[in-house]
Symmetry: C2
């Protein structure tokens, strides 16, 4: 049920004709209250799509009544016309729901540069249908409507008895920090103010979506929104709430990794005994972005030399000749020298664990990534054509 | 003739049994003087191979008598044993040539982690043969012996009449700044001191090899050496000499790009009207490292949205909504909006030119890269297995 699991939310997913396949491509989630507190985080890319520019303004007062999301067009680099389309979309939703346009978030995903007259006509034309279809069990329909190259919808629920969280996500490529190419909507019936929501959301995304780096490419359209209806009447402790949001985001991040375009391995790069958490993240990211290592994993080759060559490019604190590398439980490099033979490593399972021991401190972090495959090249060379 | 074109140099290439194919894998270049001034630049990777650690010491006095280079094993992350192998190699060359071991540079290339007993025995065993084969027309043999996955040897000559430059290079993957996975030896019969050579070499590599970024992966074994015999008796002006070294390095860099593993396009990313040169380089590099854009070029898809999404991740000075992008002469994006249709762009030629106009200043830089292809994934997933 995803975003409609918590009390106080309705959702829908309809076909606006944006996808050439005719599949559903427009999702709407409405918060019925009694509270309308919200928070959102956005791509850190300076090239931001029009819906991002709009939503950053709309969220500034911490109040959101509804969020509308389309696939089939990113409405990015479409100029003033594209921004007007986003504005008109929010106005249409607001008018239909009887709320303020400034309380409507807009998200788009699809091809950059697509967002002209046909896009606007299809999008605005389908808003009434998306409103008419709103239902308290529409969460899965909404999750389907935001899919692009995703092969499955991504949803998650965290149930704490007296209150709950629901979430949906889309994203299958361009997954990189400062978020991924993804749209995420999280709902809760907990009763919390927008600043508590903001704190919890930033704490959760920092250790989940921000550590998912499938292909090193940062999107122009990323947005993760958290809407709280307060319908449960329960105000959980901020730590408890943050833990629940983190759990939900981690589940969605793993689903995104597992469905990354063309991937044949899910790789978790765990860096331990780092001087601090930033070092652990930097080291993990450099390995996650190393095409040679990622291609080796695709070929089931536990090439630890490529791991160390990537680690060596970072500014993290370590002795380059005193690092251990363990792949799927086999320590193949000890203190910068060959240890157990690479042939002992079994890389045939989809899940791969790379453990990098920097031996200088007590901090740790795990970065999630994927291998570099023929299918990745194929899917991304054919995306827009 | 490459490195033996300038007067005062002999070279050889022999088979030491390091390559399983039995092809030549050991190159030696000797400077016969009368001058022995030299300079070298090394990988900026903190994970440095044993030959790098040795050569950094050996070059510190600016004097080099000979340089020995092997393919078939990187001798990186092979511990103290590997360093002793490098040391013993320099000693063997020095003894055979009657020079000091501290004046012998050593370079290795091949698989990281390979450099054990068999490697040492084969390498040292072949040093006498490499000395016996030294000849004043051995330049091409040497260029062949340093090839790994290169499909062709890379050589270049710049002839200035009274003096000349010769060079050879190897490298076909792991090509990224702070140099590439490459070994380069440049010789000259000009009469110059080591500090002039160092200035000229750094100036040349900064705008040539350092702007070649085939796959974003930085090697552990890169070394570019410049040896001057002074045999012409001519001392060119430093500007004239630097221009000649730059011309030679640019030729070798283009040959490396053209032979990059699995590539089907050579992409030149030219950034103009940047606030400063660093900005132009940062913008070009971010596009050169964007897998989505590189996969699109492989598919002959002029996906300018992916160019701007990559540019947006940089800290360079620009207005993200006032950038022009021109691909192979067709301006597909003007001031951040779609301009001429992408279908007007012909990406079937191997050479691709991407022009990014930041519209803020007068600086420019060009980064050379390649597309991301099925063959790249294939070659790099099968490299060590």
């Amino acid at each position: 049920m995803s975003v409609t699991t918590p009390q106080g939310f309705v959702a829908s997913g309809v076909a606006a004709g944006l996808k050439s396949t005719g599949k559903t491509d427009l999702a709407l989630v409405q918060n019925l209250g009694p509270s309308f507190a919200a928070a959102a985080v956005f791509t850190s890319n300076r090239a931001k799509a029009n819906p991002i520019l709009w939503s950053q303004q709309a969220i500034s007062d911490g109040i959101v009544s509804a969020i509308i999301l389309n696939s089939g067009g990113a409405n990015c680099y479409t100029g003033a016309y594209g921004f007007q389309t986003t504005h008109a979309t929010a106005e249409a939703v607001a008018e239909g729901l009887g709320v303020s346009a400034g309380d409507v978030l807009v998200c788009s995903t699809g091809l950059i540069g697509y967002g002209g007259e046909e896009f606007r006509a299809n999008l605005l034309g389908a808003v009434p249908a998306s409103i008419a279809a709103l239902s308290d069990n529409g969460g899965l329909d909404a999750a389907h409507a935001i899919m692009t190259t995703d092969s499955v919808p991504k949803t998650a629920v965290v149930d704490r008895g007296s209150w709950s969280l629901g979430g949906m996500a889309k994203g299958a490529g361009m997954l990189a920090p400062g978020l991924a190419t993804m749209l995420v909507v999280i709902t809760t019936d907990a009763l919390l103010g927008s600043s508590e929501l903001d704190d919890a959301l930033r704490a959760a995304t920092r250790v989940t979506f921000d550590r998912l780096d499938s292909d090193g490419c940062m999107s122009t359209n990323d947005q993760v929104s958290l809407l709280a209806s307060g319908a449960s009447g329960v105000t959980p402790g901020i730590e408890e709430f943050t833990a629940a949001v983190t759990e939900l985001c981690a589940s969605l991040a793993e689903q995104l990794q597992a469905d990354a375009e063309g991937a044949s391995h899910n790789i978790a790069i765990e860096t331990i005994h780092a001087a601090n958490e930033d070092d652990a993240v930097e080291v993990g990211r450099s390995v996650a972005r190393n095409n040679l290592f990622k291609a080796a994993v695709f070929g089931n080759d536990p090439n630890w030399g490529r791991v160390l060559a990537a680690v060596g490019t970072t500014q993290a604190e370590f002795d380059p000749y005193d690092i251990d590398v363990t792949i799927n439980g086999v320590r193949v490099c000890a203190s910068g020298e060959p240890d157990r033979p690479s042939t002992d490593v079994d890389l045939t399972p989809r899940d791969v664990h790379v453990l990098i021991d920097l031996k200088v401190g007590s901090a740790a972090a795990t970065i999630l990534t994927n291998d570099l495959t023929h299918d990745y090249v194929h899917e991304n060379s054919a995306y827009s054509s």
